[in-house]
């Protein structure tokens, strides 16, 4: 498929997802199982991107104190858990990564 067409479809799908409940408010309600599932969607979808980046930075499993992405990610997770502050989480995470890359 032509890449422009692919992106047009990807954009359309994304818009329709975002418009779903906003556009149908009051006229249609999603089935109960779907509403129950929604809570887990950001967790599951984003974790599917987070874990491989932290645990497999070069494509192979790398569970070690010498893996800067794993350690920096865990530090950022701790900051996010304690502070709930996005700014702080990203800032500390990047600084930790740079420090670890330089040090390890």
């Amino acid at each position: 498929m032509n890449l422009w067409l692919t992106m047009a479809l990807a954009g359309l799908v994304t818009f329709l997802i975002r418009y779903s409940f906003i556009g149908t408010a009051g006229r249609f309600s999603a089935p109960a199982w779907f509403r129950r599932m929604l809570r887990f969607v950001p967790i599951a979808a984003l974790t599917a991107l987070i874990w491989p980046d932290m645990l497999m930075p070069a494509g192979g499993l790398f569970v070690s104190l010498h893996n800067p992405r794993l350690i920096a990610g865990l530090i950022a997770g701790l900051v996010a858990w304690r502070s709930g502050n996005i700014f702080l989480t990203i800032g500390v995470g990047m600084i930790a990564l740079w420090a670890l890359q330089w040090w390890l």
Partner: protein, 242 residues
């Protein structure tokens, strides 16, 4: 850094400005992430014009980042669309959360705000939307959050496309994306079901990483959702006798 917007006698302009201010912390993640998206898109063989257009057409950091990897891996178009759909399905949650607050607006407002409804805009606007003070103008706040992010995102992506390979890899700017996701996911881990959802999605993603066309993303996301629903159902049965 979370600014509580001043609501007294707020005009549309003030609500919009408050939204801009409130979304600012998110830009720390969005700018490096947009830069690296632009660079990766060009490296993946996407034309500069399309790479920039995608930022407006799809307008979703995680999905755009994934698209560069899928295109680099020569993934068929339909699978790219499907992967984007699964990754962005989470926006239905945000749509459901804000729908009631926007129900009174005309369709053009609903479409505009739906288009701008990203993780960051939602996270920045959710507290304002839940406050009923000056409720008639609060959509301007969401518009401010969404527009601030959109505008910055476009600039960062364009800069990334222009700079391309000149951004040193040693800076590891792509990690800013992962950190943004961590900052969004961790506060959502409130109970056993949500934690199980994360662990299952993570383990499945790593275990299925070698699947062709980056299918591990779809498989892991669906597995994580299923695990969360299942555990919640089990916990619900144990706690509340029907």
């Amino acid at each position: 850094m979370s600014t509580t917007p001043s609501l007294a006698g707020a005009t549309p302009g003030r609500e919009f400005a408050s939204g801009l201010v409130t979304v600012t912390p998110m830009l720390l993640g969005a700018v490096p992430f947009g830069l690296i998206y632009g660079a990766l898109a060009v490296q993946a063989g996407i034309s500069p014009l399309l790479a920039i257009a995608i930022s407006s057409i799809v307008f979703a950091g995680s999905a755009q980042f994934m698209i560069t990897k899928l295109v680099a891996a020569s993934t068929p178009g339909l699978l790219i669309v499907l992967s984007v759909g699964v990754i962005n399905l989470r926006h239905a949650l945000y749509s459901a959360a804000v729908a009631e607050k926007l129900a009174h607006l005309p369709a053009r407002w609903k479409m505009l705000l739906a288009y701008l409804l990203t993780d960051e805009a939602y996270a920045a606007a959710v507290r304002r939307l839940e406050s009923d003070t000056n409720a008639a103008q609060r959509h301007w706040f969401l518009f401010g959050c969404g527009f601030g992010l959109w505008f910055t995102w476009q600039l960062a992506c364009i800069a990334g496309v222009v700079l391309g390979g000149r951004i040193p890899q040693a800076w590891s700017l792509d990690f800013a994306g992962t950190l943004t996701f961590i900052a969004i996911v961790v506060p959502l881990l409130k109970d056993r079901a949500s934690t199980a959802s994360m662990v299952v999605a993570g383990v499945v993603a790593v275990a299925c990483f070698a699947l062709p066309h980056k299918l591990f993303i779809i498989v892991a996301a669906l597995a994580g959702m299923a695990a969360g629903v299942l555990l919640e159902r089990l916990a619900g049965k144990a706690e509340t006798p029907a």
